[in-house]
């Protein structure tokens, strides 16, 4: 059963089309992350699902019910915002119970639900305080609690952690994941933080220009990006791309010929193409053994990052980065032999930018 279904959704602000013929099916109990660069329409899509924006065209179903024309409060959704959006003049308790009061629930039930949410989120000691007297992390917990008390099928998060510092962000990320395991309801989560997306998601939808580029599991998106945009977007540091031409199990680039016969092409593969190699998939030292593509490169720049080291160099006349162990002793000007496993690479058609 689908929890949320979106059918050919269009949305335009005046003449600017922000969502274009967008289709999306989200399974029951799924944690779906909407990931994309700034301005690609993630928040807009989320607001459409919430009913805060009216689509220009298309339909939205929640639990198989057409909610396209329903008010936000009638859709069975709870929403958590980036700026927390707590009602400043109400206590934490007032914030949590506001929606329930509006729904006309009996007092006893409201008290019970608030208490339960407060317990789950460990904000019981804060119930009497005003939002102004809370830390950022506590505020965001209350904001999550406000969605939690409403006992909804679908949780919508719009970059809930991006106002927090790195440490707190990591903590709350884990908490949200636990919450999802416990509640087992559907969560749609907008972020432009890859780490959040990879760690939280059952599936990730990569958006660009109001369209979904790829909808897949994090592993699939990482290993088999469907097009060049997704390949370049996912992964940090990002993927290396080498320009060249394909013919018969050989990739020619910058005068070099790489033997790529192990790569599982999906169809005929000849002509101009780009080869994508993730910096972490480049082998050095003992790992080189048996790799069909090997080359000697000169180290141009070294960026030590503690656990690992990023090395900048030139391969086949093109800028190229790779990752080494943090303990590796390496200096600018050194020459080092690197190797590439073609099965871990990705090839994209130069013209259509699609995966080959």
């Amino acid at each position: 059963m689908h929890s949320v279904s979106i059918r050919s959704l269009d949305l335009a602000f005046g003449s600017v089309k922000v969502l274009k013929d967008l289709d999306l099916d989200i399974h029951d109990g799924e944690f779906l992350v909407l990931l994309g660069s700034s301005g690609c329409g993630k928040s807009t899509l989320l607001n459409c699902i919430a009913g805060l924006l009216d689509p220009t065209d298309g339909q939205i179903f929640i639990k198989e019910r057409n909610v396209t024309w329903l008010e936000p409060s009638e859709r069975g959704i709870g929403m958590v915002f980036q700026s927390y959006a707590l009602y400043p003049q109400m206590s934490v308790e007032g914030n949590l119970s506001f929606g329930l009061k509006n729904a006309g629930l009996p007092k006893a039930e409201i008290a019970e639900r608030v208490a339960r949410a407060a317990k789950i989120l460990q904000i019981e000691p804060l119930l009497k305080r005003k939002p102004g007297a809370l830390s950022g992390g506590q505020r965001q917990r209350v904001a999550i609690g406000r969605a939690l008390v409403r006992d909804v099928d679908v949780f919508l998060f719009d970059e809930p952690l991006s106002n927090l510092d790195a440490k707190l962000r990591a903590d709350l990320r884990v908490e949200i994941k636990r919450l999802h395991q416990k509640l087992e309801n559907t969560m749609i989560y907008v972020t432009h933080d890859q780490v959040e997306a990879m760690t939280l998601a059952d599936r990730i939808a990569i958006m660009k220009g109001g369209q979904i580029m790829q909808l897949d599991t994090p592993a699939e998106i990482y290993n088999r990006p469907r097009n060049r945009y997704v390949a370049g977007f996912i992964g940090s540091p990002s993927m290396n791309f080498l320009d060249g031409g394909l013919s018969d199990g050989v990739f020619e680039t910058g005068g070099e010929r790489f033997d790529i016969s192990g790569y599982p092409f999906e169809g005929a593969a000849t002509g101009p193409a780009e080869m994508g190699i993730r910096p972490e998939h480049v082998a050095t030292g003992h790992d080189l053994d048996g790799l069909p593509i090997q080359a000697d490169v000169t180290v141009e720049l070294v960026e030590p990052m503690g656990s690992d080291t990023q090395v900048w160099t030139t391969l086949a006349g093109q800028s190229f980065r790779f990752r080494m162990d943090g303990q590796a002793e390496i200096r600018d000007g050194d020459t080092i032999r690197i190797g590439i496993d073609p099965t871990k690479a990705s090839f994209f058609d130069k013209k259509s930018e699609l995966r080959l």
Binding site: L52, P72, M79, F81, P88, Q89, F98, G132, R146
Partner: protein
């Protein structure tokens, strides 16, 4: 000589340290305080003369020195101004005008602020088709000199059967306060984060629910500002009072004018001064009382959710 022996490190310890000293008597300060003192004197002196004169008897005033403090303090002029001074046929002082003004002021302030705050809220958070046009028209209203509207409004009030009545004047004040107050509220509510408004909608609050439960409680500072504007504006109004009401319900300002400009008998300067001070007392009190509230309101509103 010592300088040459200083190592660079110890030289760092020499020289300026700690807060930068401020020069008290700089040219800038002299200019600033000079201007402030002159301005203060400019406003305070007439007030002083008024207070002093209002506490003197007529014989003392005739001696001529308007700056001299009263030899014999008397409150007679104040009593007379309040309850005995004659305007036209009535001789019951300013008290009648005071109560008329109160009766005009209270409904006008409440009505204009209530309508304008709802307007501002709707215009900032519920963009409806045509809301931009509506707003533009209102804004043009801010710049139209109200003299051009005087006569059309006379006709309008006559058609409504409100001409010459207290409620007619209330309506006029509400209408004329609308553009500026709406602008004030709209700008204030625009600064309330959209996400707060969205959260309330997800929580099932409707137009009025959000207005009363979320927006109004956050709007205290701007409510106080609007109140100060309206109370002083309406209380000090003279023109609309003269034009749209009749003698029995003239507001205080109009009555003050009638007392001061009455041509019969001797000019009682002390009574005139007392009457003027009495009329100015209400806006003055509002400033004193709500000035504090205003600051407190801003401080309370500064907590972002």
């Amino acid at each position: 000589m010592t300088d040459t022996r200083l190592t660079p490190a110890s030289r760092l310890l020499e020289g300026p340290r700690g807060p930068k000293p401020t020069r008290r008597l700089s040219g800038r300060n002299i200019m600033l305080y000079g201007t402030l003192i002159v301005m203060a004197a400019y406003y305070a002196l007439p007030l002083y003369v008024m207070v002093v004169t209002s506490l003197k008897g007529m014989p003392e005033i005739r001696m001529g020195n308007i700056f001299a403090p009263p030899v014999e303090i008397t409150f007679e002029p104040w009593v007379k101004a309040w309850s005995e001074a004659c305007t036209g046929i009535n001789c019951d002082g300013l008290s009648r005008g005071f109560w008329n003004s109160v009766q005009i002021l209270i409904p006008s302030v409440i009505l204009s602020i209530a309508v304008a705050s709802v307007n501002g809220y709707a215009l900032s958070k519920w963009r409806f088709p045509g809301s931009e046009v509506f707003f533009t028209i209102l804004m043009i209203g801010v710049f139209i000199p109200y003299q051009v509207m005087i006569y059309p409004i006379v006709i309008l009030l006559r058609e409504l059967g409100l001409y010459g009545s207290l409620w007619g004047l209330v309506l006029v004040h509400t209408i004329f306060g609308m553009p500026l107050l709406t602008l004030l509220f709209r700008n204030y509510f625009t600064s309330v984060p959209d996400e707060l408004f969205k959260a309330a909608r997800v929580d099932g609050a409707g137009f009025w629910g959000i207005y009363f439960r979320i927006m109004l409680p956050m709007a205290l500072p701007i409510l106080v500002v609007a109140m100060i504007l309206q109370v002083t504006g309406i209380w000090n109004d003279f023109l609309f009072g003269v034009i749209y009401t009749k003698p029995e319900i003239y507001p205080m300002t109009v009555q003050l004018n009638n007392i001061v400009n009455s041509v019969q008998g001797v000019k009682e300067y002390n009574v005139n001064m007392a009457a003027t001070l009495l009329t100015g007392l209400v806006p003055l009190t509002i400033y004193f009382v709500s000035g504090k509230l205003f600051v407190r309101g801003i401080a309370a509103g500064a907590v972002k959710g």
